[in-house]
C-alpha cells in the first residue's frame, strides 16, 4: 500500500485500517488526535482533563477499531470512553459505556451540569507535574510554604481553609513592606468555615503545570481548588465543595492579627485591608453558594490591590473584583491554565531515566515553578530570599536575587529579570547615599534591602539571655555591590538587550565601580587591597582580600571602564561637530571620565586576588592557608552546620568553609580564572566546604558537572533540589529557599547541560550523570527560544532563529528551523545534521 501511495506521489502517507476498510490519506485520526492534544496542551488542558470518546475504541474482529488510533501517547492519561457496542471488548483503560450518541450527549451534559453547579474542577493527576504535599499535621507550616501560589506580584501560602493554631497563613505582595521593613501581611482570602477543625490528614497537591492547589480533607470530605491568576494578575479564586454540612458560611476574609486591618461590606463584596501608612494590601471578595441539602459548593472570586504611602487600595481592589467577576471563575481558570502552559513552553525541564530521574525531574520542575512565580514583568520586582512563600527574612532582598534567581529568570522570563534590575535601578539613590554616608563615592548597595533601598540588615540581635550578638554582614559583606553590577551585565549578555547597559543599567555598573575605586586601599608597594570584608563564606567574618570580593570588584572596575570607553572612546574624546560651549563641557567631562576609567583599570590591575600560580588555586583570603587544615569529613558528613558543632571560634580558626567562596569566582566569572584552576580549586575547597548554607550545594553541583564529575554533582544537585521538598534545613516552614531553586536551574543549565554564552555564541557542553539518560531544557537566549536536549549519543538543539553555537567543542552555525543533531564524541561538523523535528 505504501508503495502504491508513493506511486501516487503520497510520500508520507497515513494508513488507517480496521477490519472493514483501509484508508490512505495525508493525515490520519492519530494525527488529528496529536494535533488536538497539542492545541489543548497549549491551553494547559492535558491528561485526565481530556475526554476521548468514540464508538470503536475496542477491537473489531480482532483488529483495533478505527477510533483506537486516537489513543496516542500524547493522550495516554486522557479519559477514554467507548459508547459503541464493542462486543469484542475495549483496550485496557477504556471505559465501555455503550449507549451510542445519546450516551455521549449524556456524558457531555453531565460535564456541563458540573460547571453549572460550580463543582470543584479536577486536575490532571500527572505524577511528573503534580507535587503531593506533606500530610503530617505537625508539618503544617512546611505544607503551607510548599503549597504557595504566586504570580510574581502577590502570593498566598497553601494554608488550610480552616487554619488551626499551628498554621501560619500569609498573603503578601512583592515589595510591599510595613514601617518595620517587614512584608505586609494581607487579608487571608482562602479561609472557609469547615465544620470540623480537628487536625486531620489532608491530601493536598500543587499542579505545577497549571499553577493550582487542590486539597481534599479526608475526614470532612471538603474538596477545594484555588489559584492566583497569572493571566489576570489582580484576580484570585477559590472553589470548595462538601457534603453533609461540612462547609458552612462564615468569614470571607480574615485580617491578620496586629496588621492594623479592617473588614467591611461594600456593595455585594467584602473588602478588607491591612498594613501600615507606608503600604496597605487590600482584598475584595465576592462569594456564591450553590447546592442542596446534601452538597454545597462555594465559589469565591477575589481581587487585590496595594496602596503605598496612604493611597486608597480598597476601592481599587473592589474595581478589580468587578473585572474578575465579569470574567468568571471558569474563564479565569482557563486563563490560568493557558498562562502557565505558555510559561512552561519556554521553561520546561525534562529528565529521562529511572524512577530517581523522575524524582529529580519533579524536584527540578518544582524549583522552576517557584522561580517563574517569583517575579513578574513590568515595573520593579523585589524578590526576597523566600519570595512570597513565607515571612522568614521579612521579604528582604539579598544577593540571592542577583546571583541566584536572576540568571535563571533571564533565561526563562527575561522581562521578569529586567523588573528585578529595575528594583535595583530605582534604589541607586539610596545606594549612593549609603556610600556617601561612609565617606565614599559611587553606590553601595546594602546587604539587605527592602522598600526604599536603605540598609535593613539587622546590626544587633539579642540572644536567649539578653546578650547582644552583633550581625556583621551588613557592614562587611560588600560583594553585593559587585553582584548587582554582575546581574546587570548578565541580563544584558544573556537577553541580548544591548541597550540596557547603555541606558538604564549603566548606573548599576558605573556607580558600583566608583564605590570600589573609593573603597580600595593601596599598600606601600602599590598593591591594592580590600580590607575588612566578608566573602560568601560567613564562617570567616571579617577578613582582608577575600578572593571572590576582590575578583568581583576588579571585574566591576574593568567592566565599567569598558562601558564608559565604549560610549566615549578610549581616548575620552566625544565628537562634537558644533564645537559649542556645551560641547566643550561635554569634552571636558569626557576627558575627566577617561581619566577615571584609566584609574579604574590601574586599580584593577593592582588589586590582589590571592591566586597562587604554582598551585593553580586562589587563597580564599589573606592568611587562609595558615589556618588549621581541617576537612569536613574529619568532623561530620556534609551538608552540616559545622559552626554549631565545633563552635564559631574553632571554625574561624580552621579552613572549614560554609559555602562555595573561591568557587563562586569560577561560577559567576568562568572565563577569568586560569585554565585548570577550576579542577584544582574543586579538589582543594570542596572537601573543606560544609555546605552549611542553602546556597552552596547547587553551586558545587554546577561546577562539578562542568569539571566532568557529573555523578558527584548529582548528589549535591539532589540535596539542593529536595531542599524544601524534604525540609532539609528545618526552616522551610518560613518559606521556600528561592536562591537554592535558582541554583538548581543553574546546575541543570550551566552544569549538566554545560550552557553558557559569550560575546557571539551559545556554548553547549553537556555532562550527564549516569542516572540520567537524557536532559532537555527550554529557555531563551539572546531573545531566541531554544530547546537543548542532551543524551549520551547526541545533542539536539532546536531554535526558531539563527544561532551561533559551540556544541561539545564544535563550532556550528544553526540557521534556525529544523533542529540540529550533534553526535557527541564525534565532534565533526560533517556529522551535524538537521533532524525532522518541530522547532520549540
Amino acid at each position: 500500500m505504501r508503495r502504491a501511495a508513493r506511486r501516487a506521489a503520497l510520500d508520507d502517507v497515513r494508513v488507517t485500517t480496521d477490519v472493514r476498510y483501509v484508508e490512505l490519506s495525508l493525515t490520519a485520526r492519530s494525527d488529528s488526535a496529536r494535533f488536538a492534544a497539542r492545541v489543548l496542551g497549549d491551553q494547559g488542558v492535558t491528561g485526565s482533563l481530556v475526554l476521548v470518546a468514540g464508538d470503536e475504541l475496542g477491537s473489531l474482529g480482532g483488529v483495533p477499531g478505527s477510533d483506537a488510533t486516537m489513543l496516542v501517547d500524547e493522550l495516554v492519561r486522557a479519559v477514554a470512553v467507548s459508547v459503541g457496542d464493542q462486543t469484542g471488548g475495549v483496550a485496557s483503560g477504556v471505559q465501555l459505556m455503550g449507549g451510542g450518541q445519546l450516551r455521549l450527549i449524556e456524558i457531555l451534559d453531565a460535564q456541563l451540569e458540573r460547571r453549572a453547579a460550580r463543582r470543584v474542577p479536577g486536575v490532571d493527576d500527572d505524577p511528573r507535574w503534580v507535587v503531593p504535599l506533606p500530610r503530617d499535621p505537625s508539618k503544617v507550616r512546611v505544607t503551607e510554604a510548599l503549597g504557595t501560589l504566586a504570580n510574581g506580584r502577590v502570593g498566598v501560602r497553601g494554608s488550610a481553609e480552616r487554619t488551626g493554631q499551628r498554621a501560619s497563613p500569609l498573603f503578601a505582595a512583592a515589595g510591599l513592606y510595613d514601617d518595620r521593613s517587614r512584608l505586609v501581611r494581607g487579608p487571608i482570602w482562602t479561609v472557609a468555615n469547615v465544620a470540623d477543625d480537628s487536625p486531620q490528614p489532608v491530601v493536598g497537591a500543587v499542579d505545577l503545570r497549571t499553577g493550582v492547589l487542590v486539597r481534599v480533607d479526608a475526614k470532612t470530605g471538603v474538596r477545594s481548588l484555588r489559584f492566583v491568576s497569572s493571566e489576570q494578575l489582580h484576580a484570585m479564586a477559590l472553589r470548595a465543595e462538601a457534603f453533609d454540612g461540612a462547609l458552612l458560611p462564615g468569614d470571607v476574609l480574615e485580617v491578620p492579627d496586629g496588621g492594623g486591618g479592617r473588614t467591611r461590606r461594600q456593595g455585594g463584596a467584602t473588602v478588607a485591608s491591612s498594613g501600615s501608612a507606608l503600604g496597605t494590601l487590600a482584598v475584595a471578595a465576592r462569594e456564591q453558594w450553590a447546592g442542596d441539602a446534601d452538597r454545597v459548593t462555594l465559589e469565591r472570586l477575589c481581587a487585590w490591590s496595594t496602596g503605598r504611602d496612604g493611597a486608597p487600595a480598597e476601592r481599587r481592589a473592589a474595581r478589580q473584583l468587578a473585572r474578575a467577576a465579569s470574567v468568571g471563575f471558569d474563564a479565569l481558570l482557563a486563563g490560568q491554565r493557558r498562562a502557565w502552559a505558555q510559561r512552561w513552553r519556554g521553561a520546561e525541564v525534562t529528565i529521562v531515566g529511572g524512577p530517581e530521574a523522575a524524582r529529580d525531574e519533579l524536584a527540578a520542575r518544582f524549583s522552576v515553578f517557584h522561580l517563574l512565580a517569583a517575579a513578574s514583568a513590568g515595573g520593579e520586582a523585589a524578590v526576597g530570599a523566600r519570595g512570597l512563600t513565607g515571612d522568614a527574612y521579612d521579604g528582604h532582598v539579598f544577593w540571592d536575587a542577583d546571583v541566584f534567581v536572576l540568571p535563571a529568570l533571564v533565561a526563562l522570563r527575561p522581562e521578569a529579570a529586567r523588573a528585578m534590575l529595575e528594583y535595583r535601578i530605582r534604589r541607586l539613590p539610596a545606594a549612593r547615599a549609603q556610600a556617601a554616608a561612609l565617606g565614599r563615592t559611587g553606590a553601595r548597595f546594602p546587604w539587605e534591602s527592602a522598600r526604599d533601598g536603605s540598609d535593613v540588615t539587622p546590626r544587633l540581635v539579642h540572644g536567649p539571655h539578653g546578650e547582644p550578638i552583633p550581625i556583621l554582614t551588613g557592614a562587611h559583606e560588600e560583594h553585593i555591590v559587585a553582584d548587582v553590577a554582575w546581574a546587570a551585565v548578565r541580563y544584558a549578555e544573556w537577553s541580548g538587550d544591548g541597550a540596557f547597559l547603555e541606558g538604564p543599567g549603566r548606573g548599576l555598573v558605573v556607580e558600583t565601580a566608583r564605590y570600589w575605586a573609593s573603597r580600595i586601599r593601596l599598600d606601600r608597594a602599590g598593591r591594592a587591597h580590600l580590607y575588612g570584608v566578608m566573602g560568601p563564606d560567613e564562617y570567616h567574618e571579617v577578613v582582608d582580600d577575600n578572593a571572590f570580593t576582590n575578583v568581583m570588584a576588579r571585574w566591576n572596575l574593568r567592566c565599567a571602564a569598558d562601558l564608559l570607553d565604549q560610549v566615549q572612546g578610549p581616548g575620552g574624546g566625544s565628537a562634537d561637530p558644533a564645537g559649542s560651549r556645551a560641547g566643550s563641557r561635554a569634552g571636558s567631562r569626557a576627558g575627566s571620565r577617561a581619566g577615571e576609567t584609566a584609574a579604574w583599570r590601574d586599580l584593577a590591575a593592582r588589586l590582589v586576588d590571592g591566586f597562587v600560580a604554582e598551585q593553580g588555586i586562589y587563597e580564599q583570603f589573606a592568611g587562609y592557608f595558615g589556618l588549621e587544615p581541617l576537612v569536613v569529613s574529619d568532623v561530620a558528613r556534609p551538608p552540616v552546620a559545622i559552626d554549631v558543632l565545633l563552635g564559631p571560634e574553632r571554625v574561624r580558626a580552621s579552613q572549614l568553609i560554609k559555602q562555595a567562596d573561591v568557587l563562586m569566582i569560577h561560577h559567576v566569572l568562568p572565563t577569568i580564572p586560569p585554565r585548570g584552576s577550576l579542577e584544582r580549586c574543586i579538589d582543594f575547597y570542596e572537601p573543606r566546604t560544609a555546605h552549611g548554607s542553602s546556597l552552596s550545594p547547587a553551586i558545587s553541583a554546577t561546577l562539578l558537572a562542568r569539571a566532568g564529575r557529573p555523578d558527584e554533582a548529582l548528589h549535591l544537585f539532589r540535596t539542593a533540589a529536595r531542599l524544601d521538598l524534604d525540609d532539609v534545613t528545618g526552616t522551610t516552614a518560613g518559606g521556600l529557599h528561592l536562591a537554592a531553586m535558582g541554583g538548581v536551574w543553574q546546575a541543570l543549565a550551566y552544569g549538566f547541560l554545560g550552557v553558557r554564552t559569550d560575546s557571539h555564541r551559545v556554548v553547549v557542553d553537556p555532562h550527564l550523570p549516569s542516572a540520567w539518560r537524557e536532559l532537555s531544557m527550554r529557555f531563551r537566549v539572546q531573545g531566541v527560544p531554544v530547546e537543548v536536549r542532551a543524551s549520551r549519543d547526541d545533542v539536539i538543539i532546536a531554535s526558531s532563529a539563527p544561532l551561533q553555537l559551540a556544541v561539545a567543542g564544535t563550532e556550528i552555525e544553526h540557521r534556525g528551523g529544523a533542529p540540529l543533531v550533534v553526535p557527541v564524541g564525534s565532534p565533526s561538523r560533517a556529522a551535524v545534521k538537521a533532524a525532522k523535528r518541530s522547532p520549540p
Binding site: A385, P458, S693, T729
Partner: protein, 296 residues
Amino acid sequence: MTEIPPTSRTPQAPEQPRSPEPPQALEPPRVPVVLAALDKDDSSSSVLGTGVKFAEIIGAGVEALHAGTSLPATLCMLARRAGVALRRIDGPANRALVAEIVRPEVRAIVVGAGLERSGRHPVGPTTRYVAERSSKFVVIVPVAPKGSEGPLSHLLVPLEGTASSSRPILEALFPLLVTGAEVEVLHVFTQETLPRMLDDPVRDFELIGRELLAKHCPGASRILLRAGPIADRVREACDKGPCGMIVLSWSQVSSGGRARVVRDVLSTSAIPVLLLPVAGDAGRTALPDAASHGAP
C-alpha cells in the same frame, strides 16, 4: 501506722473540670496528691520543700511518707513545720513506695538523691527502683538544691524533638499546671541531629525553634537551642537561667547503658529533676517511636 493530723497542706478536693461525659461513679472526686518520701538523711528537708512547691504548681496536696519501723522526731517536726501530714509505711522502702504510688489520687512522688564528695548526686537503689517502676511523675531532689527559696516559677524542659518524648509533657504535665509556671524548652543538637544548613544562624535558629515549639511544646514560653553534650547544656541553662526544676521524659530503663542523658542530668543537677515516664500514665497512648531521652 501513725498519722499526723491533717493541716492546712492537706489536700482539698479541687473543682473538677467540666466533662462532656456524665460521671461514671458516685464516688467523691479524689484529691490529687504529691507524695514526699522522707528518709532519715539530709535530703528530707529538700524533698519535702520540693514536694510542697511542686504540689502548688499542679494544684495538689502533699503527703509525706517514711518507710521504717517508727517516725523519727526530726521528720515529724519537719512535716509539722511544713504543714504536711506524715505517715509511716511498712516494708522495704522501695516496694512500699511503689505500692503507694499506684493510688489513683497520687500524681507524683518526690524522692531524694544521694550525695558524693565529688558533688555528684547519684541515684540510690531505692530511688532508682521507684523511678523505674512508677507510672506517675517522679521528682528527684538533690540534697541541697540551688535556689530553693521562693515558689517554683520556671521549669526547664530539655526536649529532643520526638513525639514520644514530648507527649508526656503535652498530655500529662501541661494539663496539670495551674499556677502559670513558665516553661522553657531546651533543645540540644547532637552530632546526629545538627541542622544541616543555617543561612543566617540567628534567624534560622529562631525559625527552627518556632517549629520545634509548635510541633512539640506549644505551651512553652520560649526555647533555647544549643549544641553539644546534652547534660552539660542542661546544666549551663540551669546555671544561667531562673529554672527551678528540670523536666525529662524517659523510658524508665536505665540498665545496659541506657538513659544516659537522664543519668547524667540527675548526677550533676543542682536542682530537682522531674521524670515523666513515656509509657506510664503520663504517656497514655501507644508510642509509635521508641526514642526518648532515656532511649539508647
